[in-house]
Amino acid sequence: MDESKLYELMDEYRNPPHLGKPKDYDALEEGSSASCGDRFTVYLKLSGGTVKSADFEGSGCVISTVCMSRVCGAISGKTKEQIRSMDIKDVKKLIGIDQISASRISCAMLGLETIKKALADKKRM
């Protein structure tokens, strides 16, 4: 199945379940794509080393937005370690497609990359 299936998700694109800034959060991170113009802010609620919930604001293309939202849904209850080890294969599974063209991989990964950045141990950088 290829990425064209994502375009059946126009309703989810218009109203992604995890869109919106939560009242309180523990971590915030911005992610953008230099060539596309996609721009997201993710908000994470944490408890110890575990993500309680994740939401986002911003806009992008169908692929980046739907992936962003689904990754938000998938990571609640996961530990930082578990999230850090996620990759494109996990994103493909989440959206139920296995073929994303080379030029759109960065769209699909923007959400997960931004969340990983939010979880990065900033003191060590």
Binding site: Y7, S35, C36, G37, R39, S59, G60, C61, T65
Partner: protein
């Protein structure tokens, strides 16, 4: 009456036969290539010519003295002559580089700019005419950006009141986003009045119109071969002779020197001064063939045909509901249409079009400040046309855009 039929300016149907790639099918549909501002397609005369070069002329020019090297040298020099003639310059004012980006970077290193000097760029620029100058802030150069108005035209008042410390005015001839054609002649005159040099980014104009560096009054002018039917990897920086003695080295190494002693280096004159190391000879040769091709059509005809395409393009989308079209009313435009379907990201528009065989670029087009700050958009879809496109393709494009806007957009 169709432009192709009229056929006086240019016979697009005949021209299309020279571009093998145009008979390709994409996603089951005939390819409609609307991405020439990113890179143009290449005619068989260029493709075959490069093969001819390797099969008949290949050697390292300017160095060895054998017959083949002599032939390669003649071919390389002939390419320089063709470029010079193409823009009304002298051959020793033509520096071969990789592309416009390298040309502008070269200028930013080589011009004698110092602390306290001012460089004036503009809001309409490609990143390659912004970043090399911003880098100079590190050495104390001030960089200003001329504003654009709601019609995507440069604020000419800014050029009329350039501060005394302005050393360089750098501006694109044609915007790669809005297609705006700037009055570079006037800008050059105003810059010279203020005692500043002028660099013209002709990446988008050189493929589409007759360029005359003397008429414009350009001190430096940059363009890329790959956007004007030539191969990748070859570009041009024109450097007016009067600047030569003031310019500093860029890359150093083989062939750019007259003599090397470890305590005394004598450099070659421009252009060889800026052509260190073995050059892209194939590229220069290919660019020469691209220029031959354009000259056979005539740049006047290219320009007139482009104008007809541009008018038809803008006319065709004007009536489509649910579009934001980023073009002003001045009429001074190249064949570039930036637009968005309301409610859709530009990538998704490009994706839907691709499914029907249309190749368009989407996103920021390496001009993020202009698109974010002036168009207030997070990208645009861009149709950019050239001599091998037809009015019929535009009609199909407009119909498809209408479909997409109705089906997926928010009207």
């Amino acid at each position: 009456m169709s432009m192709e039929r009229r056929g006086k300016l240019l016979d697009a149907a005949q021209i299309r036969k020279d571009f093998p790639i145009l008979s390709k099918k994409v996603n089951g549909h005939p390819l409609v290539y609307f991405d020439s501002a990113a890179t143009s397609q290449k005619p068989r005369q260029v493709i075959d010519g490069i093969r001819y070069f390797y099969e008949n002329l290949n050697a390292n020019p300017l160095r060895s003295i054998h017959k083949l090297a002599e032939e390669a040298t003649i071919a390389y020099n002939a390419a320089r002559d063709k470029v010079a003639k193409f823009i009304n310059a002298d051959p020793d004012e033509i520096v071969f580089v990789r592309n416009t980006t390298e040309a502008i970077n070269l200028a930013s290193y080589a011009l004698p700019l110092k602390k306290g000097d001012r460089v004036v760029s503009s809001y309409l620029e490609h990143h390659s005419n912004i970043l090399p100058w911003l880098r100079l802030k590190d050495i104390g150069v001030t960089v200003d950006f001329v504003d654009v108005d709601d019609e995507y035209e440069l604020d000419m008042e800014h050029y009329r009141s350039l501060p005394n410390d302005t050393r360089l005015v750098t501006v694109s001839h044609e915007s790669n986003v809005s297609g705006t054609v700037n009055d570079v002649r006037e800008i050059a005159a105003l810059a010279h009045e203020a005692g500043a040099m002028v660099l013209i980014d002709a990446a988008q104009s050189a493929p589409h119109m007759k360029i005359d560096v003397k008429d414009i009054g350009a001190d430096l002018l940059a363009f890329s071969g790959h956007k004007m039917l030539g191969p990748f990897g070859i570009g041009v920086l024109y450097v007016n002779k009067t600047l030569h003695e003031h310019m500093k080295p860029f890359l150093t190494g083989g062939e750019m020197i007259e003599s090397v002693r470890l305590n005394d280096v004598k450099y070659q004159k421009i252009p060889r001064f800026y052509e260190a190391g073995t050059q892209d000879v194939e590229g220069a040769y290919g660019l020469g063939l691209a220029i031959d091709y354009l000259n056979r059509i005539g740049m006047g005809n290219v320009e007139a045909y482009d104008k007809a395409l541009t008018e038809h393009l803008f006319d065709s989308v004007r009536s489509v509901k649910g579009l934001d079209v980023y073009g002003g009313k001045s009429g001074k435009y190249g064949p570039i249409l930036s637009f968005n379907v309301k409610g859709l990201h530009s990538h998704d528009v490009a994706y839907f079009l691709d499914k029907k065989g249309f190749a368009l670029r989407s996103g920021f087009h390496c001009a993020q400040p202009f698109i974010e700050d002036k168009l207030k958009a997070n990208g645009t879809a861009r149709a950019s046309l050239y001599i091998y496109n037809t009015l019929a393709e535009i009609d199909r494009f407009a119909a498809e855009i209408k479909n997409i806007a109705r089906k997926y957009g928010r009207i």
